[in-house]
Assembly symmetry: C2
Homo-oligomer: 417 residues x 2
């Protein structure tokens, strides 16, 4: 089934690649408009998914992710309009050379072709991903969660209808049936037919994708991020950054999970951090030394285990560890981190530099919140996911990450000697 869908998708993506940037913009604006015109219908359809899943016992946090209310639908339309304003990711000349023998070489960006997405509850991904892929002239095979099947189906039908009205091939966007568990596996094995699969969701989902895939994939998301308070950390910066990174939106991958503190700041910065975290209702798992100090402050904390250090909480929970120096901090990060985002808070620019040079991660923050590792914040205007791998794209992926390149070599009969 996937092979047939992919074959139709490839034909559609070829056609789209030869349309103009302006045409792609028009399609996106028409999608945004149609989403707004059908706002109530979308909310109603979604409420059926939500009601069914509530009946089946889905927890509140997942139900919240599944839910589309009016304002969330409007946000999807607004995001679509924003993608339409981004500059064309195709045809960008990365390298241009003229060789001595007269050959003209150009390396230009082109679409991947057929891109699969495998994602969990959140139905906004259905539109967010589809419009980024449309704008980069890729065809999308969308494999959402069965819990969102009515919503996803409605949104895909809506987009396909707009695409047809715009005179383009509907197969640019296809929904892979989520009722069939094997459909995700089939997508992952469709080597040659599918150019790329991007998983978005839990660490377990991503691990399955990486293990099973025969098609190229981009690993996204898992974020066990750290903040290190250096000996010369400014507490006026350190505490607000810590609180922002932990509490502003704890469910996302760029939230912080472990705080490392230079032992010399045991008497001032550590108690400050403990008290502020407590005031913000953050559960704390501390090493023995921190735990003793927490107790003297009347704070109820637990002893941290290695399991804590490797957990992405996604909630108001944090680990706190005292370290001897920057090198020990880096060692801890190396051992437990997921190479996503690591931050140092320090007024010592040499130590900051040393931290940057030793950390192996998609992003390193100096005196800034880990929450800034984000496509919007970093100026991409949109984001299809945050790559956690070193190949192809690292960190937030915008439109251009959805392109590959080709060499166009023009000659007048040149042969190699």
């Amino acid at each position: 089934m996937i092979k047939e869908m992919a074959t139709k998708a490839r034909i559609a993506s070829r056609e789209l690649a030869s349309t103009s940037y302006h045409k792609r913009q028009e399609v996106l604006l028409a999608i945004a408009k149609s989403i707004e015109s059908n706002l109530l219908e979308i909310v109603k359809t979604n409420s059926e998914d939500v009601a069914r899943e509530r009946g089946l016992g889905m927890n509140e946090s997942l139900l919240d992710r599944l839910t589309l209310d009016e304002s969330r639908v409007r946000a999807i339309a607004a995001a679509t309009r924003k993608v339409a304003t981004l500059s064309d990711p195709l045809g960008i000349v990365k390298i241009s050379r003229k060789l001595e023998n007269g050959l003209e070489l150009k390396q230009v960006t082109v679409p991947f072709g057929v891109v699969g997405m495998i994602y969990e509850a959140r139905p906004n991904v259905t539109v967010d991903a589809a419009v980024i892929l449309l704008m980069s002239a890729n065809a999308a095979l969308l494999r959402g969660s069965s819990s969102a099947r009515l919503t996803n189906s409605y949104l895909v039908d809506l987009m396909r209808k707009v695409i047809a009205e715009q005179g383009l091939n509907q197969d640019l966007i296809q929904l892979v049936p989520s009722e069939d568990r094997d459909s995700a596996l089939e997508l992952l094995k469709a080597r040659g037919a599918v150019d790329l699969v991007i998983p978005r969701g839990s660490a377990a989902l991503i691990r399955t994708v990486v293990d099973e895939a025969l098609v190229p994939t981009i690993e996204t998301g898992a974020g066990v991020c750290h903040i290190y308070f250096d000996a010369k950390a400014d507490s006026e910066k350190a505490i607000p950054i810590l609180l922002n990174a932990k509490t502003q939106r704890p469910s996302v991958c760029n939230a912080v999970e472990t705080l490392l503190i230079h032992r010399s700041r045991k008497a001032d910065l550590l108690p400050l951090a403990l008290l502020q975290l407590q005031a913000n209702k953050v559960r704390m798992n501390c090493d023995e030394e921190c735990l003793a100090i927490a107790k003297t402050l009347g704070i109820d904390a637990n002893l941290a285990t290695n399991l804590n250090f490797q957990t992405e909480y996604g909630s108001l929970e944090i680990n706190i560890v005292l370290v001897d120096d920057l090198d020990s901090a880096v060692e801890h990060i190396d051992h437990f981190g997921t190479k996503h985002t690591e931050a140092i808070i320090t007024e010592d620019s040499d130590e900051a530099k040393r931290f940057v040079s030793m950390i192996d991660a998609a992003a390193v923050m100096i005196n800034a919140s880990t929450r800034f590792t984000d496509g919007e914040e970093m100026g991409f205007g949109a984001e299809i996911g945050i790559s956690n791998q070193k190949l192809h794209a690292r960190g937030p992926m915008g439109l251009e990450a959805m392109t590959t390149t080709t060499w166009i070599v023009s000659g007048n009969g040149q042969v190699r000697s």
Copy 2:
């Protein structure tokens, strides 16, 4: 075993990443010098590998690949010196932005860290790959063929000795024992410990690597390349390009395997091609129509099968097919090609553009030989392989393809609102 090697390699690559470009250049020049000083010893060691494999019945073509004579050793040293002259691939600022909130963002190139190579007979890859990885501050885990074990071991010892003399960590270059078949599999499963594995060799090797790998890989090499003689092909360009692409070095991946000819050129260009290929001792597999014409010319050709169309001959053999038009040519290429290099020979610039827009390949040649898809020719100065995939790098990979990026974000206390 691989995990231990990789752990040592990671430490060594970290140390190297903090050394200067100049230091890395010095190491490479010292390696080149040492190779030349030990030229006779290298040739002698290699001759033991060759003698043993000849005794075991290795065929002449593979024996040739295995052999290092004096001129080949000198060429390895020269290639090493050339890599030393290339500009630094590290620390290149790809994106630099200052946000409204004052945050300074930089996306800069950094090494992958630990890179594995799995390759077959040719022992020159041992040095070629190692020096490209050294120059990009990656540590190399080299898993060559057991047929070249004495040569590879000698070359790795030589490089390690030079590295130690230069005051650096020898674990930058390690030879993975080829006697142990499982060592390659272990390398491919070492997720987290190894950042990237690049296979170089037969299609079968590459397929195994892609199927088995849990670490990121870059698929290289398989090349079923086509040349299409368009209705408006200039025979003065077409025939020399065809002969160059097929006969100059038939064993390489950018050699041509199938010639497609517009039916309108059945009476002039086709017979010319058949006669010239015959004169150059190229075996021909033709479709029925071509076969009939070949017979009228007294040329002994075979009827081409689908198996022929998907074979990378690596020898003086070619398929010849008449097509109705450019679209049929593209359809054939789509069906049988490996997305490596495809060429059109035409004086019609509109048809050339149409061909470029429809072909999905690493390189598209207009009136030039397919043989130009090559790191040296394209101006990279060196090549660690030709990527056949769309992710990360497509086509010849030079020094910069051996880097990833990191975001460095500098602030003064910014938090996300």
